[in-house]
Structure formats: C-alpha cells, structure tokens
Symmetry: C3
C-alpha cells in the first residue's frame, strides 16, 4: 500500500492532470476526514454504485460536478496550497453536488445551480474556517449544510427548479407508537450498513462496504469508529423508540457515524476515558438527529449532516480536558 | 452568618462527602449566580416545596439527579477545580433535571434521559464557555437551554419517552384582545412572586419567598434586583397587552428576573446610569420573552430561559462602556 | 462639492445643534455605507417622498424618531466619538423606526416601542461589533434585523400593538408556476428601481432616483454597484423562476443591492477577480433572499435585510484571499 502510494505520488508530481485527479480523490476522502487518494476512489465507486442501484445516476454526476467546480473555485480563490492539496476544498462541493439532485429533478438549470452551490461552498468553507479557528475546531461539513439548506429552501419558491423530492412544510405531531416496532436482525444489520452509506445520501449495503473499505485503507481506527458509531446509533435510536423505518434506512445513523470518526480522528491516544467520551458524543448525536428531524418538519427540508456538526463541535470544543490524550 | 459559613467550610475541608454536598449546594445557588451553600439549601427547599405542592415530587427528584450526575461528570472531565468548587458545573444539570420531568411522564427511561442530559450539560458548559470567553461574557444558562431544547424536541419522535406535557406544533396567530384583561392587585402580586419561582419552573408563592431568602443570605443587592426585575417585568408585560394568564403565572417574568440579577451581579458600582441600563435590559427581556413564545409555537417546545440568555448577552457585551462602574 | 462640504464642516464645528444634525445625516447615509451628510439628506428626502406617496407619512416620522433616539442613546452610552461622528450608531435606529410603523398601525404605544427599539439597537450594535470584530468583519445591519425581528414577533402576542400589517404564520408550500410570469421591460425597470428603494422599505421609483443621487454624491462607484446589483438581482430572480410580483416590487433585490455595495466598498482596488467575486456574492444573495422568504412563512415576519447580512458576512470573511486588491 505504502509503495503504491509513493508511486502514485511520484506520478502526480510529474503531471498537472494527475495532480488535479489526486486532489479530487482526496477531496472525496475528506468527507470522512481521510486524506488518501485510494479512500477517495473507493468512496467514488461506492457513490457510483449506490446512485446506479437506486436508479439515479444523475446524483453521481452531480457529485462529480460539485467536486470539480469546488476545486477549481478554490484554485481561483488562491487558497492555502497545503489545504487544497489535501482535499479540504472539495468535500463540501461533492456533498452539495450529491444533495441537490437527490431532492430535485435533473434539468440544465439544476446543473447551473449545483455549480453555483459548489462555488459558494468554497467561500463558505473559507468563512467558516476563519470563524471556528478562533475556537480551535474545524469547519466539518458546516459549509455544505449551510449552502445546501439555503438552496433547498429557495427551491420551494423557484419554479425554474423542480424540488418535488422535498416534503412541504407540515405540523409537528407526536410519533404514533405503532411506528416504533421491534427490529429483527436483518433490519438491524441493514440499519448499521445504511447508517454508513447515508453519509453520502445512499441507502445501500454494497456502497456501505465500499465506504468501509475506503476508510480501512487509510485508517483501520477510522473504519472501526465508523462501524462502532453505526452500531451505537442504531441501538440507541431503537431503545429510545424512534421510528423503525428511519432506523433501518440508516437515516438516524449517518450523523453519529461521522461524530464517531471525528472524535476518533482528533484523539490520537485512545484511552478508556476517550472511548467513553466518544460514546457519550455518539449517543447524544442520535438525540440531536431526532430533534432536528422534528424541528425541520415545518421547513420542508432535510437536516443533512447538521446534527453531526452541532454535536461534534460541542464535544470537540472542550478537548483540552483530554490533554495528553489528544493531539496538541 | 459569616461564622456559620466558616464553620461549614472547616467541616467540608475535613470530609470529602461534605465537600461534595457543598459543591451540590453551590451548584444550585449558581442558577441565580450565588456561590453560597445556604443559598443553595434554601433554593432546594423551595424547589422541593414547589414540586410537592404541585403534586409532582418527581420533578424535585429529577433536579437532584441532574445535579449529582452533572457534578460527577465534571469531576470525571477534570474541569477547573475552582470552577467546580464554586458550583459552576452543577447549575445547568439541576435545571435539565427539573425541566425534563416537568414536560415528560416519569419512567425508567426518563431518568436515563435526565442523566444523559445532565452529563452533556457539562460538555456544553465547557464548550460554550470556550466560545463566549472570547467575547468576555459567561455561559449563563445557555448549556441548559441548548441541551433541554434538543431533548424535548426529540421526545416528539421518540415513543420511549412520554412527552405528553408538551404542546404539539401549531400555527402562529394574533392574540385575541380578550386574553389581555386588567390585572387586579392579587394577580399582580402573584405575577411578581411567580416570576421569581418560575426560574426553577415552579408557579408557587412560598417557593418564591424561599428563593428570595436564599438570594438575601448571599446578597441583598441580588435579592433586590430579583424583586425589582419581577415588578418591572409584570408591569411591562401588562402595559404592552400581553396575555394576562401568562403574566400572573409568572411565565413572562422569570427571564427578566434573571437578566436583572445578571446585570446587577456584573456591575459592582451601581450608579444612575447603571440602573437605567439594567432597566432597559429588563424591559427588553420581556419583549424577547414574548417574541420567543411566538416563534416557538410551531416547534411545540418552551423557550426555557433563552430570552434571558439572549438579552443578557446583548446587554453584557458592551459593558466596557461602563468602565469604572463595572467589574474589570 | 468639496468646498460646500468644507463650509458645512466649519459651520458644524461652531454649533452643537448643527453637529447633531450632521451626525443624523451621516447616520442615514450609513444605511448604504456612506459617511456623507448630503447623501443622508438625499436619502431622507427619498424616504419622505416614498412615505408620503404611499400614504404613510408616519413611517417617515418613525424613521426620524428612531434616528434621534438611537443617536442620543449612543451619546449616553459614551460610544467611540469617531464612530458616533460618522453616523455608525444611527443607521440601525433609522431602520428600526422605518420598519416598525411599516407593519404596525400608529399609536402612542407604537412610538414608545420605536424608541425602545432604537435605544436597544445601539446596545445591539455595540454587542454585535464586539463579537464580529474578532473575525474582522463589521456589524452591517444585523443589529437592526435582530431587534426588529424580536419586536415584530412579539407584536403577534401583544394586544397593545396593532401588528395587523404582518401576515400570520402559514404552511410552506411549493410556488405555483403560474406565479412566475414573463417580465416585460416596464416591470423589469420597476424591479431594478424598487430593489434600490426597498433598502428603505419603499417601492417607489422617484425615491430610488433620490437614493442613487445620494450615493453618487458620495461615491460614483457605490452608485454603480447599487445599480448593477439591482440589475443582477432582478435578472437572477427571474431566470430562476421566482414570483414575478415580488421581483417587480423590488422585494428580492434590496439585499443583493446592499451586498453589491458592501463588497464594492470593501474592495478598493477593483479587478476582474473582484468583480467576478462580487457578482457571485450578489447572485447568491438572491438565493438566500428566496430561501429566507420561505423559511419565514411559518413565523409571520419579514426577513428584513438578513439575507444581505448573511451573504455579505459569508463573502467578506475570506477577503484575505484578495490581498493586494482589498483594503488592509
């Protein structure tokens, strides 16, 4: 693996086109905090499969478009070269590009809208990073969430875009207990796998395996955190009596998976304390996900990965209390 | 009083158990910014009475549970010892523990939920403090508000928790003028007293007297500010034509009471200017309370003390304009 | 022009009353970032005309009251004299004073409410400035937006104030395509002009010309940015299929106009890159405006200039990437 990586690196050094591809791959890997081209490649294969299997190949195309436009925008804005090279200006773009066509019907105007969103995601990344660096945390997927929320909300009032994949605003009511049924083993396993693949807005078990493989080639620790996060999320959501179809579709687990990886990625010297802290953070992310699902019912847009961003910021801000266990 | 306090302090020095009790008491006192064990004791008696009188003793139990869990979590997270000893990591926990059982029916899962919320309130306290210290203000009850909002919102979609004490989401409509009737003297006095007791989510006149006594043993100035804040709040709300039943139940006054104490606690050299500024802040807190009540109608959760947090941050941020009159 | 300005300045130096008038005029000019008394005077004439033409002279009176109260409050709070002299503590007050009577019927209590809001706008200005200076951006109209949102929301539940000019909360639904009709040239030109006058909550073409003239006497560059921003906004909104009556009333363009001026005011060395960046920011402000219009449907209050504030902060935060082209 290391030898292949060095070979790839030397190829990239000699070719601007390959270097650009390398940045795109790393940008995809950064959705789950991995600065590794093979991770990005496996992620892209997973997204492509997930899109094709769900009969929406345009979603994969949107992701690629967002990734390329965001990366080009970052170059045009002369961002920090080290950040650019490690893909930090691509991951929000690929997510914007996946999210918009997931909820809107394809049309020429949609692709222009994706390009606009991907370009703005870079501005939002620079702005968010400027703000949160004051508090020594990173931007996470906040730029993606902010830009995509705005663009989805606007589509309700723009007839040039067909946002018929979005719900209309509705009234908040109590969940009917009949919606929270026992999960059998199959539904449990599906929930775990799809909690991972829903990070890229896909409910697909093979895609989940490809994403796990992508994590593993970069960091076994990250892959283990993702899997553990998914198990914790599905278990917690089920014990609290959440809607079973949401649990088994992975829709309550993708934010906790990201929280688990984020906490595991920052704390480099795992200890019992760190594991318990990360567990607390992951369990709380499930509650945040359910809460935001409720709060967004009147708005008619999805939460995206905002529960992960909110919970992870909350749990990363006090990380000086793990001095000696955390990265300086 | 001073001698008794020294005696108590020397007892605590010799006993880990008494020291722990001391921290719990001070944590309760910090809900109204008082670092004093007798204040905390009187507050706890007031809450116990208010819970018993309202037929919900489980609310008092929830408060104790939240207080203990938050304090233990803070120890586990190795927080700043001086802050721990003065109760700064307990006040959000006791409030989380009082709020959740106020709106949800008791069950084993509820107590686990309270413990989760109390533990996370400490993380939220550390995180919020990290952010707001940049702007030289303190966290106030923002950690309590944030964590409890999330947990109450989530309960709408969790069948394991019975949140039947919460309203469902509803449509915002104009208040019918018939709802704003003249207040007679009895209703006025009830409104003033309950504005104080509602700080601990109780509408009870004896509890209000116990809370005032608790403030007075620590600071007569704080007790006077609380009383003055309550009078200003009830008067302002009534003059603006707010719903009379809310006014006389103290539900528009608890945030202004906290604002009045907060501004009085920070500005140590009272002057005519400071008093006028605190008055402006207290009046505006009433408007913020009414505004947030409206904004939260579609969400089906209460504002908690967010109006206090928002208005007090607003009025504390520019406090350098009271240099010479304010604590450095 | 320069000679007249110097003559005026020398008159002001010798008279406290004229100096106060000068501060009021500059405060009005600062709504569009211009520190120039003649700009303020032309703006006030434009507002007066717009209010009179629309049959609501009380709106102009409210604006004057807010301007005076805010300026006096700033003096009382002993704000930075240079900021006071350049009108930085008046622009939020004049906007509060224009906005409240636009949505509420006149009454003695309304004028007290305007005075309260104008006074609090100064506190909010100091507080917001304290926070955002950390990130090297300015407060923009955030204090006006925050204070006015709170006061409008509250009016739904205050029978002393007649907020019958506000919509009630409603359900978010998709826009009917029939609402997005072709714009003819007349509607296009009206949309451009009214996008400028709506900065002061007026849909009036003569007012727009007076505002443009006011900008031009201070900065031709700012006037050109305002006009270009309006053209871009109307075109973008129409191409995306926004509601035609909103477009031609200027209601989707006033925030983009302000964004265009803000970006043009900060970047002192225009280049192709800067123009393209400002264009991107202006186009995105249109999307933010439409999105916030949707999000505010359940709340029953208008967005005010929040889309401008949000988008401009987003695009101003990364301005170090235009070093050499931007003001240091």
């Amino acid at each position: 693996m290391q030898a292949a990586l060095e070979r790839w690196e030397s190829l990239c050094s000699g070719s601007g086109a390959l270097r650009f591809v390398d940045i795109l791959l790393r940008g995809t890997g950064q959705v789950m905090f991995q600065n590794h081209p093979l991770t990005g490649l496996l992620f892209l294969v997973g997204i492509a499969w997930g899109s094709w299997a769900a009969g929406v190949p345009e979603v994969f195309f949107g992701g690629l478009l967002g990734l390329v436009v965001a990366t080009l925008t970052a170059m045009w804005l002369r961002v920090d070269p080290a950040g650019l090279a490690s893909g930090l200006f691509g991951y929000n773009g690929v997510l914007v590009g996946l999210a918009l066509p997931t909820f809107m019907a394809p049309s020429p105007l949609l692709w222009a809208y994706v390009a606009l969103g991907a370009a703005v995601s870079v501005v939002a990344m620079l702005g968010t990073a400027n703000v949160v660096k004051t508090f020594q945390v990173s931007a996470l997927t906040a730029p993606f969430v902010l830009v995509t929320w705005i663009m989805l909300l606007a589509s309700h009032a723009l007839t040039g875009l067909d946002g018929s994949g979005l719900a209309e605003g509705a009234k908040i009511v109590m969940l009917d207990p009949a919606e929270a049924n026992p999960l059998d083993l199959g539904a449990f396993l599906a929930g775990v796998a799809k909690s991972i693949s829903q990070v890229f807005l896909k409910g697909d078990m093979l895609a989940a395996l490809l994403l796990l493989a992508g994590l593993a080639v970069s960091s076994l620790w990250a892959a283990a955190a993702a899997l553990a996060g998914a198990v914790v999320a599905v278990t917690t959501a089920h014990l609290l009596g959440a809607e079973s179809t949401l649990v088994s579709a992975g829709l309550l687990g993708f934010s906790p998976v990201l929280t688990a990886i984020a906490l595991a990625t920052v704390f480099y010297q795992p200890s019992a304390r760190v594991v318990l802290y990360a567990l607390l953070g992951t369990v709380f992310t499930v509650v945040v996900q359910v809460a935001m699902n409720v709060a967004f019912v009147p708005l008619g847009i999805p939460t995206l990965t905002a529960p992960f961003v909110l919970a992870s910021w909350l749990f990363l801000l006090p990380r000086q209390h793990f001095t000696g266990e955390a990265e300086p």
